[in-house]
Symmetry: C2
Subunit: 124 residues, 2 copies
DNA sequence: GAGTTATATTCCCCTGGAGGAATGTAGTTG
DNA sequence: CAACTACATTCCTCCAGGGGAATATAACTC
């Protein structure tokens, strides 16, 4: 994983928003759709882009795909550093703050991700 | 200056190397050419790209163009944070370390940038 | 002014990738 | 099994931008 590739992953706003949300923990695609309010194909393709390049992992749970930041990313210091930097940089940004707010609403309205994993039901 | 645009500037290796060198201080184009060992047009176009987007400034000193990171970039916290992150990330990288080593050799072999400014002679 | 140096710009070709409509696929539910 | 849900993939179009050859420009030198 070269540094340039990390930046290539970060140079699209949709992907920035996806990664930013993932800093909160694993999420399924319907979460992203609900929070970003973007077409399914767009979300899916950007997640695929990130997955291909190793910035996220995906695991199927029944009908849902759970995306997460890679476990053990302490071993990818460049990624870790840039994600931390990203989180700092967007702290005051309206779009990203709104995303976070929507995510929290979802976590109340929908079953949280743990429930998804446990029961295979109750996502969005 | 939006965050995505910063990442767009960072997502090319040549530009990463240019910015990394500029963290050492202002430099003229011939420095970049000598250190990166890339065609003049390539260097010049990437510097133009960065300049257009406000990541570097340029000032003419006689025959030479002096490029530098923008003064007062403390007021662009995202840029500042990402440049710091970049410097961290490349600390152990062979290409970037070699660039730095070459730059230091140049600073011995050529007149340093202060001399360029003072006399208008003695660059590369 | 002619020549030279340092740098920028223009022209070309070519690839990556963004966006979206339509379709495919895996898993679940009844 | 059929129907449905959640998601991925394929096809298309379009454009930014990377690389290089050639040319232009700006400033200095003589």
């Amino acid at each position: 994983m070269k540094l340039v590739q990390i930046y290539q992953c970060l140079c699209d706003e949709t992907r920035l928003r996806l990664l930013h949300l993932l800093l909160q923990g694993p999420l399924c695609v319907c979460h992203f759709q609900a929070v970003l309010n973007e077409p399914q194909v767009k979300i899916s393709k950007h997640l695929g882009y990130l997955k291909t390049r190793g910035l996220v992992t995906a695991s199927r749970q029944g009908n849902w795909m759970i995306y997460a930041l890679p476990a053990g990313r302490e071993r990818m210091p460049e990624l870790e550093a840039n994600l931390a930097c990203l989180q700092d940089c967007v702290a005051g940004n309206a779009v990203f703050k709104r995303d976070l707010a929507r995510l929290r609403k979802l976590d109340l309205a929908c079953a949280p991700i743990e429930a998804v994993r446990g029961t295979g039901r109750g996502c969005c």
